[in-house]
C-alpha cells in the first residue's frame, strides 16, 4: 500500500473565546499572527507562524505549542495539507 504521509503546514486553526482582540493578544504572546476569523465560524481563528517550517512531515514542537495551555484556548489544530482534485 502507498504510504501517505501527513504534511503539516505553518497555519493553525484555534478556538478562542473572548473575541478577536483576545485572540490577537494570545497569538502575539506565542509568536503567531492572527489572520482573522475562519469564515463564519464564530470563535475560530486562523493563526500563522512565520518561524515554523512551511511544510513538514512532523508536527511542530516548540514554545509556541504552549499556546494550548492558555485558558481561553479551547482547541488548536495544526493544519494538514489535504489533497483535493479539480473535477
Amino acid at each position: 500500500p502507498a504510504c501517505r504521509t501527513r504534511m503539516y503546514t505553518n497555519h493553525w486553526a484555534v478556538r478562542i473565546t473572548g473575541g478577536h482582540q483576545e485572540a490577537s493578544r494570545i497569538a502575539s504572546k506565542y509568536g503567531y499572527v492572527n489572520i482573522g476569523q475562519i469564515g463564519a465560524l464564530k470563535d475560530y481563528y486562523h493563526f500563522y507562524h512565520s518561524k515554523t517550517i512551511k511544510r513538514s512531515v512532523l508536527s511542530s514542537r516548540g514554545t509556541h505549542s504552549f499556546i494550548s495551555m492558555e485558558p481561553k484556548v479551547e482547541w488548536i489544530q495544526q493544519q494538514v495539507v489535504k489533497r483535493r482534485i479539480k473535477r
Binding site: 486553526a13 475562519i38 469564515g39 463564519a40 465560524l41 511544510r55 489533497r83 482534485i85 479539480k86 473535477r87
Partner: protein
C-alpha cells in the same frame, strides 16, 4: 410574455448561443433528445435576479466580458492569498481555468455578443480562490462559510482524489462550516451547497468514498452525455440527487463556457460542468421563491427531475413512486418544472433525525461470502422530536476492519424493498484501514416509510490472493434516518403535474400541516387585495389569471398555462386533453396540439396521424389538406394516390377518359392522331403511340430522329426511340459501342467515337495531327518503343 408550446424560440446574439444544445434543444434545430427546460423557466420570467452564487475553485476571472457585469465582490475571496481579489494566477498551462469555466455555466451575461449564456444570466456570481495552494481543513471551512447571509448557493467541482483508493471527506472545521451554513445561512433558510459527484472514470472510484458529495448537506450532481448515455468518468452513487448535461464521448456535443484570458471554450468538461449547471437551475428556483429552505430545494429536485432518455440499466421506482438510479439519482433536472414547483411551494415540515443503533456484536466477513444484518427500525416512534415516518436521506454509519478495503461491496435494503448499493468494489484500494465510522448515504428511499426491517449486506470478493488468517469484521453499524413525522407535501404542492412523468408520491393528502397567519410578502401574481402565504396559490385575488388545480386550489399566473384558455377576464379553463392551446374546451377548438399530436387544419382537432387527403407539414405540427384530386399526397400538389375516377400522371391526378382521349377540364377529347394515349392535345402530349409510330421524348414519330435509335424492347407494349449515348452523334443501339457517326473532333473506330487526335494507320490525314503522323512514318519512329505512344495505337513496328 410566456408563449407556450415552444413555437417562439428564444434567441441571443452571443456567438455560441446556437450551439448551446443543452439549453434549447426543444426548438428542434438540434437533434437532441431533451433539454433541461431552461428556456421554459426564462419564459416564466426567472433568470436568476437577486440570487448570489459563488464558485469555490481556483479563482474567477472577474474581468471576463461575460462575467464582469454579474461579478459580485461580496461573494468572492482569495483564501489562498488571504485577500479580497480572487483573480486566478496565470501560468503558461492555464492551470487555473477551472473556476472561470464553472462560473460561465452559471451566470455568463446574455446578449453581449461575446461568448455564451449562463443558465442564471442575471444572477450575481462570485468566486473563491482556494484550490491554488495548500488546501487544509481551514481553507475549506473558510470557503464554505464565506458570507453566508449574502451568498445563496455555493458550487464546488472538486473533492478528494478520485484514484479509486482514497476515502476522505470534510474534517471538523469544514463539517462545522456545512452545519453552520445549513443552520444559519440565508437568514436561517440554509445555504445551498452543490457538489460535482466524483470523476472516477480511469480509476473506477466510487463516490461513496467522497465524504463531500456523500453528505446530506450537499446536492450531489452527476452528469449525462448528450446521448443520455453514461459518460466515461461518471461514478455510480446512491447519494447522487440529480443530473445535468456535461461532455461525453468525442462524438457527443460539448458544453460551452467562459475560459481564462477572456476566451470561450467547448473543451471537455467532465463532471465539473454539471454542478454549476445545477447551481444555475437552483438559482432560477430561488428567484421564483426566495423562501425555499435547503431541504425544500432538495425536495423540489427530487419531485421534478426525470429519467427521460437517460440510459441506465438500474432505474427502479421506489415505494414512494420516484424513479431513481445509481448513475443519475432522480434524473435530469428540469428548470421549468422546478420554478413552477417553487412558485407554489409550501415549506416542508421540520426535519427529524432518528438514530437507530443496531446491535454491537461483531460479525466476521469471510472472503467470497456475504454478511447480512437486519435491523427492525421504528423510526424513533417513541420520541416525538425524532420520530421519522417519511424518509428523506438515509445514512448508514459503519465501522469495518478489513485486510483489503477495495474488496468490499455494501448494500442497503429499505423496509419497502428498495435496494441501494452503498459501496462497490474498488480495484485500486488496497488499504487495510477499513472504514471507521464512515457515513454512507442513499437518497433512494426518499418518500418511503421509515419503520420496518432494514437489511445491510456486505460482500467480500477478493480481487487477489489474500491471507485468510485475518478476515474482515463488521464491528458496528447504525442507521441515521432523516425525514419528517408528517406528510411533507401540502396538497398545494401537488399541482401542476400535467407534464410530470411520475405519479404523485403523496399518500395521504388530508394530512396537511396548518397555515398560520401570514405577514410576509405576497407572490408577484397576487393583486393588492393580499394573501395568506408566499406562493401564487396563497393570493386572495389574482393580478392576471388563475387556474384551478386538481384539488381545487386557485393558482395565480401571468398567462394561462399550456393546456388552458382564457374564459373571461381572469379565469383559465382546461383545453381538450390533446390540445396545447385552444379557444374552447371542445376537441375541435384546438389552436395547437400537445407533443405526439397534429392539428387537422380543417377540423381543428388534434390527431395522432393525418387521414387520407391530408399531409403532415414540414414542421410536423399541422395536417394540411391535399389538392382536391389527390387521395393521398406528400405536399399539396404532389399526389401519391388519386381520388376514384382519376389517374396519376406523374404527381398529378386527372380524369380518366377512354383510350385515345384526354380530359380538357370539361370533357374528353381525342388525342393527336399519332398518340394511342395522351395527357393533352398535340403531338407533344403523347403517353403511348399508335401503330407505326414510336414514342420519342413525349412525341410520336414514324422514324427515330438523328441522335435516337429504335429500341426494340417493348415498353408498356410499345417500341420507343431512345436517345443515343452522349459520345455518339448517331447510333444503332444503346451504350457507347453502337455509334454510327461521331461529333466533330471525334472519329469512329469500330462503333466507338474516339478523340480525333488519334492517327489512323499513321497515313490518313487526321483533322489535327496528320502531318505529325507522316513524320512518324517517314522516320520509322514507331520502331522506337518510347515513341510508340506518340502515334497512339495505330503504329506497327514495321513503321
Amino acid at each position: 410574455d410566456y408563449k407556450p408550446g415552444g413555437t417562439q424560440s428564444t434567441y441571443f446574439n452571443d456567438p455560441k448561443w446556437p450551439s448551446m444544445w443543452y439549453m434549447h434543444c426543444s426548438d428542434n434545430t438540434h437533434h437532441c433528445q431533451s433539454d433541461m427546460n431552461i428556456v421554459g423557466a426564462w419564459k416564466r420570467g426567472y433568470t436568476g435576479k437577486n440570487v448570489v452564487i459563488t464558485i469555490l475553485d481556483d479563482g474567477i476571472e472577474r474581468t471576463h466580458p461575460d462575467l464582469m457585469q454579474n461579478y459580485d465582490s461580496n461573494a468572492s475571496y482569495d483564501v489562498n492569498s488571504n485577500d479580497i481579489d480572487p483573480m486566478p494566477r496565470y501560468d503558461a498551462s492555464n492551470e487555473n481555468k477551472h473556476g472561470t469555466r464553472c462560473a460561465g455555466e452559471v451566470a455568463a451575461i446574455a446578449n453581449n455578443s461575446h461568448c455564451t449564456v449562463g443558465i442564471a444570466f442575471n444572477a450575481k456570481i462570485g468566486g473563491v480562490r482556494m484550490l491554488d495552494g495548500d488546501v487544509t481543513d481551514m481553507v475549506e471551512a473558510k470557503s464554505l462559510s464565506l458570507n453566508p447571509q449574502h451568498i445563496h448557493i455555493y458550487s464546488a467541482s472538486w473533492g478528494p482524489d478520485d484514484d479509486g483508493k482514497t476515502v476522505d471527506g470534510p474534517a471538523s472545521l469544514a463539517r462545522q462550516a456545512f452545519e453552520n451554513g445549513i443552520r444559519t445561512g440565508r437568514n436561517k433558510l440554509g445555504s445551498i451547497f452543490v457538489w460535482a459527484s466524483g470523476n472516477g472514470g480511469r480509476s473506477k472510484d466510487h463516490c461513496s468514498c467522497d465524504g463531500y458529495t456523500n453528505s446530506i448537506y450537499t446536492i450531489s450532481i452527476s452528469s449525462t452525455a448528450e446521448s443520455g448515455k453514461k459518460p466515461w468518468y461518471l461514478e455510480e452513487c446512491a447519494s447522487t440527487l440529480a443530473t445535468t448535461y456535461s461532455s461525453g464521448e468525442s462524438y457527443d456535443k460539448k458544453i460551452i463556457t467562459t475560459d481564462l484570458r477572456q476566451r470561450c471554450t467547448d473543451s471537455h468538461t467532465g463532471t465539473s460542468a454539471s454542478a454549476p449547471m445545477a447551481a444555475g437551475i437552483i438559482a432560477l428556483a430561488l428567484e421564483a421563491n426566495p423562501f425555499l429552505t435547503w431541504r425544500d430545494v432538495q425536495h423540489i429536485i427530487v419531485r421534478t427531475s426525470r429519467a427521460g432518455h437517460l440510459n441506465s440499466n438500474d432505474w427502479k421506482t421506489n415505494a414512494a413512486g420516484y424513479k431513481v438510479s445509481h448513475l443519475y439519482g432522480f434524473g435530469l433536472m428540469d428548470a421549468e418544472a422546478m420554478v413552477m414547483e417553487a412558485e407554489k411551494w409550501t415549506t416542508v415540515p421540520q426535519q427529524h433525525v432518528c438514530v437507530e443503533s443496531t446491535d454491537h456484536q461483531a460479525k466476521t466477513i469471510r472472503p467470497d461470502s456475504q454478511v447480512h444484518s437486519v435491523y427492525k427500525a421504528t423510526g424513533c416512534s417513541d420520541n416525538s422530536n425524532h420520530h421519522v415516518i417519511y424518509l428523506e436521506h438515509v445514512v448508514v454509519r459503519i465501522t469495518i476492519t478489513h485486510p483489503r478495503r477495495g474488496d468490499l461491496a455494501i448494500f442497503l435494503t429499505s423496509p419497502s424493498g428498495t435496494k441501494s448499493q452503498l459501496l462497490a468494489n474498488r480495484l485500486f484500494d488496497h488499504s487495510t484501514e477499513g472504514f471507521k465510522n464512515w457515513e454512507f448515504m442513499t437518497t433512494h428511499c426518499w418518500g418511503e416509510k421509515a419503520a420496518g426491517d432494514w437489511k445491510l449486506e456486505i460482500h467480500d470478493t477478493p480481487s487477489q490472493l489474500r491471507s485468510f488468517k485475518s478476515p474482515g469484521k463488521l464491528k458496528e453499524w447504525s442507521l441515521v434516518l432523516y425525514g419528517t413525522s408528517i406528510q411533507p407535501y401540502s396538497p398545494r404542492n401537488d399541482f401542476p403535474k400535467v407534464e410530470r412523468v411520475r405519479s404523485s408520491p403523496v399518500e395521504d393528502p388530508t394530512e396537511d400541516y396548518g397555515t398560520d397567519d401570514y405577514a410576509g410578502p405576497c407572490n408577484a401574481e397576487c393583486s393588492k387585495v393580499g394573501c395568506d402565504g408566499p406562493g401564487p396559490d396563497h393570493c386572495t385575488d389574482c393580478l392576471h389569471y388563475y387556474y384551478k388545480s386538481k384539488n381545487n386550489t386557485r393558482i395565480c399566473v401571468p398567462n394561462c398555462p399550456p393546456g388552458h384558455y382564457n374564459v373571461d377576464k381572469k379565469r383559465c379553463k382546461k383545453c381538450s386533453p390533446n390540445c396545447e392551446t385552444c379557444v374552447g374546451s371542445h376537441s375541435d377548438q384546438c389552436l395547437s396540439c400537445k407533443s405526439g399530436f397534429y392539428l387537422n387544419e380543417e377540423s381543428n382537432v388534434c390527431i395522432t396521424s393525418c387521414p387520407d387527403g391530408f399531409y403532415l407539414d414540414k414542421n410536423k405540427i399541422v395536417c394540411r389538406k391535399c389538392s382536391e384530386n389527390c387521395k393521398t399526397c406528400t405536399e399539396s400538389q404532389s399526389c401519391t394516390e388519386c381520388r376514384h375516377g382519376l389517374s396519376l400522371y406523374g404527381s398529378r391526378c386527372a380524369v380518366r377518359c377512354e383510350e385515345g382521349k384526354y380530359h380538357n377540364g370539361r370533357e374528353c377529347e381525342p388525342c393527336h392522331r399519332s398518340c394511342a394515349t395522351c395527357a393533352g392535345s398535340g403531338a407533344d402530349a403523347c403517353i403511348n403511340c399508335t401503330e407505326g409510330y414510336f414514342l420519342e421524348d413525349g412525341r410520336c414519330v414514324q422514324s427515330c430522329s438523328g441522335g435516337y435509335y429504335l429500341d426494340h424492347s417493348l415498353e408498356n407494349g410499345y417500341k420507343t426511340c431512345k436517345r443515343c449515348d452522349a459520345s455518339c452523334l448517331e447510333c444503332s443501339g444503346q451504350g457507347d459501342k453502337n455509334c454510327t457517326s461521331c461529333p466533330n473532333g471525334y472519329i469512329l473506330d469500330t462503333g466507338v467515337c474516339v478523340i480525333g487526335t488519334v492517327c489512323k494507320d499513321a497515313t490518313e490525314e487526321s483533322w489535327a495531327e496528320g502531318g505529325f503522323c507522316m513524320l512518324v512514318k517517314k522516320n520509322n519512329l514507331c520502331q522506337r518503343k518510347v515513341l510508340q505512344q506518340l502515334c497512339c495505337r495505330t503504329c506497327t513496328h514495321k513503321g
